[in-house]
Amino acid sequence: MNHGRKRVKPSAEVEKLRKEKEVTKIKEYRNLVESYFQKKDKKEFDNDALALTTKILSQNPDFYSIWNFRRLILLNGLLKECSEEDKQQTLSTELVFLQELFQLNPKSYWIFNHRRWCLETMQNPDWDKELQLVGKFLELDARNFHAWDYRRYVTSKLSCTTETSLTQIEFDFTTTKINQNFSNYSAWHQRSKLLPLLIKEKNLDEQEKKKLIDKEFELVKAAFYTDPDDQSAWLYHWWLVAQGSIISTSQMNEESKESSNSLNQNLSIDTSERIELLQREINVVKELLELEPDSKYCLQTLANLLSELKSNVKEDSKKIDDEIVTICDRLIKIDKFRTKRYEDLRSKFISNQQG
């Protein structure tokens, strides 16, 4: 009787067994790959070949040549001259196989690639099901950029076939993900893709547009106040600030639209609005800086905003230069890995001071 104690094997023995197992596994794998080369060269696209690719891919889904071979096998075998039903069946089986592999490796380009191929080869792909599936992937890992990219692919197919727009739904989906955990580059990126579309689709007037964008600023502000060290929120903020000028481009008349793509506006109306926006955001960041004087993203953002402000106003040039130089000095002290970058930035504004 063991009195409840588990038998523990001596570790040297365990190590030896493990190594032996590994050597066998490597040998087996090498044999499989050898068989693959043989079959490929002989162009044998039979069931054995298919089973072979299944074995290899189950262990190594990133070996993309095997996927290529598998597609050739399918096209020359099961999918050649068969009924639509059989085709659907075969490809559905492929999808199930892919789902199993996904558990092993949720970030493989080739798994998603093969999935797309299957769906595009099918006559009746179920895009709704795919959307549900990618939703589950994102529940498992909200930061999996492969899944986000696949989601964009699926929603574009879905909105094509149903002829409806999914923009609002997808926008709301990013809101949900960001609320759960805003440290998510992909979710913010997705949002940045959808926001301009949303504005266009809903045909918002100037006031509604401004309201929507201001709401975005509020959201990202809450994020960087909650965690000033989270870069993803700051990136979205930088994008929003840049957007402010691009979106107001629609106010410009036709000639100016052709000539100007840059952030600098020459029309006085837009400039004053632009300055207002920059000043507002400068104040927001400065307030946070008071609470977190060593926040590097705060400082970088402030430097960006000031630099842009400078190119929009005529007066206070020297004052702004001084401010930016002070910021660079601080950044050099805080962020030692990027000293050279800040020195470089600093030098631009120092030379301006002297010139």
């Binding site: 063991n2 409840g4 588990k6 038998r7 609320n179 759960q180 955990n181 805003f182 502000k221 809450a222 994020a223 106040y225 909650t226 965690d227 000033p228 307030e287 946070l288 609470l291 977190e292």
Partner: protein, 542 residues
């Protein structure tokens, strides 16, 4: 159950199947000690148990009733030893005071009275009629209907008389996992905490980064302050420079001066996250940071909740779980079994055994017991016992938001209360009541004349008592009572081989009780393993 035990000598006899006693029963049997575990009640859990609705009413009425004096309060002799009489009922009754209950008529009724009477089966009708008559002749018709309905669904209630929740990281949960008792239990998460603010509203308390980010009531600056503080507190021992000089100073002072946390935010940190039971000044910085850190470390282990709630009544279920371990390893169990006398050796002054209700003499090396079984003569008079005011309220709709379980805090002075009031809301999800009802468990350190006085104003803020606010949920039944926290300081007159377990205290969790069980075990069996894992029968390693 046999009237006479075959074996009369044991290593340990344990009286009372409360929480601490049960853990010890399990731990001692597990290391091979012979254990006899008895309880005068016919149920497990002692003063930590849970009752269905009928049982709760019976219990309340029992405690309100006349205190029987034991037939012989004087010391007797038995075979050359001192025989000290035990009066369990009296001791237990004396632990409780200011017991009163109210039944409320539901105005928003959908069933008519006739339907209600049809609803009840004949014998249930008889019992309820009897109970209704017994309860009060002065009930209005509406109130009689409420009572009848509650009695009809009595078995769907599991009402804790000493309700407690469990932090997701802490002594008890680790013990449940390591000992395997966790396998006998089911849990729900408690993931919402609210705090009453002086603007007569309840704010949701943000504790995780997600909560802080999405909160609509916390200002941006407060979000930053709170996050900065929470990040520090999670790992505070690694930044001693931050709290240097503040260790013994009040936690409140540290929060205000070092993190500029004040006002509502300060209240939330002190009473909803650190869960201070008394007043802010009573907790120093090290203590405060320790509790705060434990709360934060609990988050994320089982989702966004700091606490778990055991189904069917934590006190009762967990006690039973440990008794089961004890029984598996040979512990003998006798419920509904009274003890008449404790036997003390005259020369050594040690406990040698006891005499049970059947006159059988049982002996052991050690006696572990809850205070209710200690003869009056051996207890020290202590008027200064800490007291806890409680209320159990059955309501017809959730407060704040729908969910399995939530916690609401009233900070000191928010409703004329000296100490913080904590309100747990449980539901059908925790198997505390039927699907269409919710249960509120209110508690606070006693300060006024009665439990009702201590808690009523807070209750009025939560539910529609005076019938003028139909948007709030309505109460159907409320029981108020106060109980003492008696601990081992009362027992200095006791022989060394009698080990006394504390009553349930005012804390929201089982941590201090679990620690006591461990300490008592260590004292009795130094260097022995405390509840090592029981091998899983599905293990194929053996």
């Amino acid at each position: 159950m046999p009237q006479q035990l075959e074996v009369t000598e044991y290593d340990v006899i344990i009286l009372g199947t409360g929480f601490v006693e049960s853990i010890l029963a399990g731990a001692l049997a597990r290391i091979g000690k012979s254990v006899l575990h008895m309880d005068t009640n016919e149920y497990y859990g002692g003063s930590w148990t849970s009752f269905n609705f009928q049982e709760l009413l019976d219990w309340a009425q029992l405690l309100q009733g006349h205190v029987e004096e034991s037939s012989g309060n004087s010391q007797e002799n038995f075979e050359g030893k001192k025989a000290l009489p035990i009066n369990f009922s009296k001791a237990r009754r004396q632990a409780y005071s200011t017991i009163e209950y109210e039944i409320y008529g539901i105005l928003k009724q959908t069933n008519s009275t006739e339907e209600n009477e049809e609803y009840l089966h004949k014998d249930e009708q008889d019992t309820s009629e009897e109970t209704i008559r017994h309860v009060s002749t002065s009930l209005s018709n509406f109130e009689r209907e409420t009572l009848a309905k509650l009695l009809k669904e009595s078995k769907q209630y599991n009402l804790d008389i000493a309700p407690k929740i469990m932090p997701c990281r802490g002594e008890l949960i680790e013990l449940l996992i390591s000992s395997g008792v966790g396998r006998y239990l089911e849990f729900k998460a408690l993931d919402k905490t609210y705090i009453y603010s002086d603007q007569d509203t309840f704010d949701k308390v943000p504790c995780s980064k997600e909560d802080v980010f999405t909160s609509q009531t916390v200002t941006l600056i407060d979000k930053r302050k709170l996050m900065r503080f929470l990040t520090f507190a999670l790992d505070f021992t690694n930044s001693p420079e931050t709290f240097e000089g503040y260790e013994e100073k009040p936690y409140e002072k540290f929060l205000k001066e070092k993190f500029q946390i004040d006002g509502k935010l300060l209240s939330a940190v002190l009473y909803a996250i650190t869960l201070i039971q008394t007043k802010a000044n009573d907790v120093n910085t090290i203590q405060g940071l320790t509790y705060t850190q434990r709360y934060l470390k609990s988050l994320g282990r089982y989702g966004n909740a700091a606490f778990l709630v055991a189904l069917y009544g934590a006190g009762s279920e967990i006690s039973q779980g440990f008794c089961r371990i004890s029984a598996v390893f040979g512990g003998i169990y006798m419920l509904n079994h009274s003890i008449k006398h404790l036997l003390i050796d005259k020369s050594s002054n040690n406990f040698t055994g006891l005499i049970d209700v059947n006159g059988q003499q049982l002996s052991s090396t050690y006696l572990i017991t809850s205070i209710d079984y200690i003869p009056e003569k051996l207890l020290q008079e202590n008027e200064e016992c800490e007291q806890i005011s409680r209320a159990i309220v059955i309501i017809d709709r959730y407060i704040h938001e729908e969910g399995d379980a939530s916690l609401t805090i009233f900070p000191p002075d928010s409703v004329g209360n000296e100490y913080p009031i904590r309100v747990l809301q449980f539901s059908e999800g925790t198997r505390s009541c039927p699907e269409d009802k919710y249960v509120l468990y209110m508690s606070t350190k006693a300060s006024g004349k009665s439990a009702k006085e201590d808690l009523y104003k807070a209750l009025e803020k939560l539910v529609n008592i005076s019938n003028d606010d139909a948007s709030l949920s309505s109460p159907l039944f409320a029981l108020f009572y106060r109980h003492k926290f008696r601990d081992a300081t009362l027992s200095s007159l006791l022989p060394d081989n009698i080990i006394v377990t504390n009553d349930s205290d005012s804390s929201l969790d089982f941590e201090t009780a679990t620690i006591q069980a461990k300490q008592l075990f260590e004292k009795m069996c130094p260097n022995e393993e405390f509840l090592p894992a029981v091998p899983d029968p599905d293990d194929d390693d053996l």
